[in-house]
Symmetry: C2
Subunit: 464 residues, 2 copies
Amino acid sequence: MNLEKIFEPKSVAIIGASEKSRKIGHVLVRNFFKSFEGDIYPVNPRYDKILGMKCFDTVKDISGDVDLAVIAIPAKAVPEVIEQCGEKGVKGSIIISGGFAEVGNKELQDEVKQIADKHNLPVIGPNCLGVMDTYSGVDTLFNPRYKMDRPRQGGISFVTQSGAVGAAVMDWAGYKGFGVSKFISYGNALNIDEVDLLDYLKEDETTNVICAYIEGTKRGKELIDKAKDVSCDKPIITIKAGTTEKGSRAVSSHTASLAGSKKVWEAAIKQSGMIKAKGIDEMFDYARAFAEQPLPEGNNVCIITNGGGFGVLETDYCIEHDLNVTEFEEKTKQQLRENFPDYAAVNNPLDLVGDANAERYRVALEACMQDDKVDSLISIILFQTTDLGSEVVEVISEINDKYDKPLIACSAGGEYSVLHMRLLEEAGVPTYNNLISAARSIAGLTYYEDFLNYPVSRPHEIRF
Amino acid sequence: MNLEKIFEPKSVAIIGASEKSRKIGHVLVRNFFKSFEGDIYPVNPRYDKILGMKCFDTVKDISGDVDLAVIAIPAKAVPEVIEQCGEKGVKGSIIISGGFAEVGNKELQDEVKQIADKHNLPVIGPNCLGVMDTYSGVDTLFNPRYKMDRPRQGGISFVTQSGAVGAAVMDWAGYKGFGVSKFISYGNALNIDEVDLLDYLKEDETTNVICAYIEGTKRGKELIDKAKDVSCDKPIITIKAGTTEKGSRAVSSHTASLAGSKKVWEAAIKQSGMIKAKGIDEMFDYARAFAEQPLPEGNNVCIITNGGGFGVLETDYCIEHDLNVTEFEEKTKQQLRENFPDYAAVNNPLDLVGDANAERYRVALEACMQDDKVDSLISIILFQTTDLGSEVVEVISEINDKYDKPLIACSAGGEYSVLHMRLLEEAGVPTYNNLISAARSIAGLTYYEDFLNYPVSRPHEIRF
């Protein structure tokens, strides 16, 4: 089925629209009003107008074309509405409503599926948060807006079987300044599941990395085949929940999926080139690097820091992630020695020492970018020192734009540091708040480059 | 040597005090002026007054007793000043100044050591950030204040060989609302090293958990013996930097310490009951739980959540950390069933579902606290939902005060969530922003309880 009109509709009908501010049907109208530039048609026989817009009795009463129908009405009324959508020629739908298979009401869900399939109508949901697309403005996230931020535009798309996980992650991504393309919470997967969504995102131009939170699948083999196909184009980072026996039991009471055994999943992940993340932080550690940075040519990393201890720790972490903390070329060493004070030793990790200013960072980054022995750079920046100011954000952003080698940043601290980390992140430099995240993000890029070079011949896995 | 007057002086002389606002000697006077209630004596022959206080030519010109001397003057002038401190009868000193062994000037350092030892004068440093004590108000952290927050009072003390690591960590701890007792950056360890500091902190009443960032030690055997002795009283959480060969080389160019092999350190950690942390986040994951919570009687954990997916993931993580996601007692199940809506299944993980409010959390927490099969509780709280408001912070704090079982919280999200997480943390409930941290903090408590029961008979290690 064609999902294009779900993500890029020109018009949307909101069925179950409401004037009451605490109702989901109200929040949905507001969301579209705020972010969507196409036509919005509220549908509810009880109202003539909602937020000043004409309100229709049914979707069939709308005179113009309707690309997308967003449905938030009691479960029992859904079959009739889906039938009306089919007759109207709606191209895609999102059923927010719960009350189907997840509470044992499988018959009702089957009835809806039959009608939707008959009309060739793709359905996201039911029982889901739906879709948010930062480019088209589609936004069905119905949580109160003051409690839930939205991320900026970017290249990460996130597919999730759990709505609550999705809401928390989007809120967090917005807060942190991470860039997102699409968010899809697909709930009970009526006639669109993770395999279809991977297929769609493969071709999606604004998506350059795919994240997936998966509890279980009904199409194991298709998922592996599709993942392998997509992985040769774009990286897929996967969290598999329910890998322990008790976790698996919790899955069946949560989404009624079959979790499958840990071994089967791990084999599937290795075969398909998907990148396994243990948790949500780790997933975004990788995703942000993929979304913003080129792939490295090899595993030779260079660590630049203004705090010696952080350089030592990061060296350990890089090596534990199969990265090589490389020697510099002779010309690099010479250049650094000429420009650095005597008390700053020229090694990798490169300690710019406590009185480093933005200019010293520039010299170091330029030299290391130009060093052929260096494949990727980790820039650790501690903002607590007297001599390092906001200028370093500009320096790092400029170097990042100028060269085609992966560069990430890492910092630690309180409000002053957090502000500057967010500025760096928004300037396109993935910025981590801990050293392990920074090391593994470079390891992720390196692993994936290796997979693309040898997709079939060997299994892959990131250690740690 | 007696370190009491370093941490709890009644009077302090700041040698190298300055009127110039960017000088370390100025920041030091300001810090003490802001947080210290005892007598402050600026010392510098160039000034009559500093910040309105009388300034003395030398420490010997001060008529009252001087418990602590904080020294920030050029390295070459330090021996004379230490001699004067000795003659004056100063009880402790902190030498901030660099320019000693770390830049190859070992002779000068030895000279200072000889004088200090002659006068039985304990010295923190040289080449360090010094000490911050949230109870006594001693505070020699000389980074610009607007860039560096201070933590609130609490039970965690942090000993670090690296000043930059320490500064970033304290700044971060302040921002996050973590409670700290003492911070000690001891630099070149003239006559006070990590062994002496552990010894002091063992008896310190406001310290209930010790964190240590260690690059190397000159007293391996004493460190292990002392750590074992202290561990039977208070938990010690250790990050060892330089565990890889290249990391170890980086250590020698950073603090000129000998890093020692990874195997030796790991054996030492197991023997001594110290808890190994891979990174700073992990160190504080454990530390916060130890500082605020009692030890559990066993490894039976209960997971409460309003997002099913997070419950599934946390189940996996707990099991991977050797915790048991326990069955409930019959009476608990009954109580929960009576109070919960039909669509909320009574299992562990206990999913309160998306419409849970604070009251539902109260019912769940009370029931699980009273369940004899439950040794510890993880409360996952997603604030994005419509029905869950700020009241849940009070509910959880109240339950935490009422019962003597370990309770921690975990949340994820943006600004609204971050605010509430900080409120929970400051109310004494360790609150984690990711599920793995939450699981391992409970694992840390459980591990340590086990160590206390069998300190000699078996080696211990936390997995993951």
